[in-house]
Amino acid sequence: MNLHTYDSVFMELFSLEPSQLDSTLLYQSIDTWDSLGHMELISKLESVFNVNLEMDDVIDFSSYEEGKRILMKYGVAL
């Protein structure tokens, strides 16, 4: 359920297909995930999971996979 939500945030925000959600999806690996897109991503994830990410985690959020690990720290099981 949470994973589905996590995936749909990426797909909607960055106009991605499900097949693109894998370990090759990195910050700046696609045009839309730039620094502006990154902040949009963080604020979307914060609101759908009702969490508040530490800035250290925001700057460590370097990939689709890394994001999952970070959200787990906040008790979001993915």
Binding site: T32, S35, L36, G37, M39, M55, V58, I59, S62
Partner: protein, 476 residues
């Protein structure tokens, strides 16, 4: 013909650039790299075009073209409208960070991610290029019209001297890159560092990435530049991160900082022994024209400072009978040797000499306070400035017109507002944005009104439209 970069080669074994993996390259190393490009001699008839990333491959290409005396077009790496420039200016060489499938070009050299292509047929001669012309920069966020600013060796040399003196850059200062060098502000940071024999830490990460902060610390960088967007990000992730760095000064240009961000950054810098310089520039003046020192910023925080000597500002067009805070407003005009030669809209234009003759009408409305500090209050031309990049509102309207929807575009609170009598579908906006490099869906909002207000003469009444926009609650 000497070029502005000639003096840098005497720096020899001094380190010029460090890449993001920590590899250091001296001026001699760069000089050797250039030889590998094996560029054909150029008799003042050739154009080169490259995309600009903050990598050693890109820097080497840039130096190779300048040294080879090409009139060099510098474009951003993610540009989608590159074909327009290629067909209009028929460059002899293309140096790109991606592959290109073009029947008129063949690949002759590869360097990291970069590919060097040469035009198959010889360039049609008869189109001489002005020998003073060295660089061609885009005027603004490209909206498909490949208009370029023509910049000479002398323009760059003078502008670098102005910047070096006004910021009192030392020989041991190290700049870390935060802006692409296809952008005049980013380019001026590279050029001033090279000409002063300083080290540059090449960086491609953004401020909100851990890797940027790792590089900032490991390189012991002493300075960087940023547009308002960068400083807003810096504020967001916490200025305190700078405390453990070696940053000695920071510059800000490319638009006005929101007041609260300015105050936060300024206070932080004041307490942490960092000089924060607000600057104001335009590509048409090669780069930066004015500077506000931290000392003056304390007294006049909303000013962009004074013209960097020997440049100077004046106001024209007193018929704009506007006063702000009791000061007369006029169009800001800059005079100085860094004012570019003029625009180019075609290959023939590259033959032109110095069209502007050192005088630039900035299109900005401004006043001088009693002490002579410049305050910018608005713009004459219809431009929007989004994240430091200028977009012509007329070009945007034309793009929508080509998609068969009439809109009036204007800028409001860092967004582009499209006013129309029809519903503007988001798919239409997406199509339009595909033609405008750098703009995003979230930068654009629409407002529907029953009728576009017009003046008695039948022209669009922009003032009324603006007041409609500022009073409308804009949908998120």
């Amino acid at each position: 013909m000497p070029t502005f970069l000639d003096p840098i080669w005497s720096n020899g074994k001094k380190i010029a650039v460090i890449d993001s993996s920590g590899n250091a390259f001296s001026f001699d190393d760069l000089s050797r790299m250039i030889i590998d490009f094996s560029l054909e001699p150029n008799e003042g008839t050739a154009v080169a075009l490259m995309t600009c990333s903050n990598t050693v491959e890109a820097i080497a290409g840039y130096l190779a073209f300048v040294k080879g005396q090409f009139a060099t077009i510098l474009l951003p790496t993610n540009i989608r409208t590159i074909d327009n420039y290629v067909s209009l200016y028929t460059p002899k060489y293309l140096y790109l960070d991606h592959t290109l499938d073009h029947c008129n070009y063949r690949e002759v050299f590869r360097f990291g991610k970069y590919h060097l292509y040469i035009l198959r047929s010889p360039v049609n001669s008869g189109c001489e290029i002005n020998s003073e012309l060295r660089l061609l920069l885009t005027t603004s966020g490209s909206t498909g019209s490949p208009k370029l600013v023509r910049i000479s060796d002398e323009n760059i040399e003078l502008n670098c001297k102005m910047i070096l003196q006004s910021l009192r850059i030392n020989n041991d200062d190290i700049a870390i890159t935060t802006l692409p060098f296809s952008y005049s502000y980013g380019l001026s940071i590279i050029n001033t560092s090279l000409l002063n024999g300083n080290k540059i830490q090449l960086n491609e990460y953004s401020i909100i990435q851990r890797s940027f902060w790792d590089l900032l610390l490991s390189s012991r960088a002493t300075n960087f530049g940023g547009i308002p967007f960068n400083y807003q990000q810096l504020e967001q992730i916490g200025l305190d991160r700078l405390k453990s760095s070696h940053i000695r000064f920071m510059t800000q240009a490319g638009g006005r900082l929101p007041r609260s961000t300015f105050e936060n950054v300024f206070d932080f810098c004041e307490h942490n022994n960092i000089d924060f310089f607000v600057m104001y520039g335009q590509t048409e003046a090669t780069a930066r024209m004015s500077v506000l020192s931290p000392l003056d910023a304390k007294r006049f925080p909303s000013s962009v400072g004074k013209a960097i000597s020997p440049g100077r500002f004046e106001l024209i067009n007193p018929e704009i009978s506007l006063e702000v805070n009791g000061f007369k407003v006029g169009e800001l005009v800059f005079t100085g040797g860094s004012v570019a030669l003029g625009y180019a809209s075609s290959k023939e234009d590259l033959r032109l000499g110095d069209t502007w003759k050192g005088v630039l009408r900035t299109g900005d409305l401004a006043y001088f306070n009693k002490e002579g500090f410049v305050h910018i209050v608005g713009r004459i031309n219809r431009f929007a400035k989004i994240r430091g990049v200028r977009y012509s509102l007329e070009d945007i309207e034309e793009i929508f017109a080509s998609l068969e929807i009439d809109v009036v575009a204007l800028e409001f609170r860092d967004q582009i507002i499209l006013v129309s009598t029809k519903d503007v579908a988001s798919t239409t906006i997406e199509k339009a944005l595909y033609l405008i490099d750098g703009l995003r869906l979230s930068d654009v909002k629409t407002i529907k009104i029953s009728e576009l207000p017009r003046t008695p003469a039948g022209k669009l009444d922009f003032r009324t439209i603006e007041s409609i926009v500022s009073s409308a609650s804009i949908p998120e």
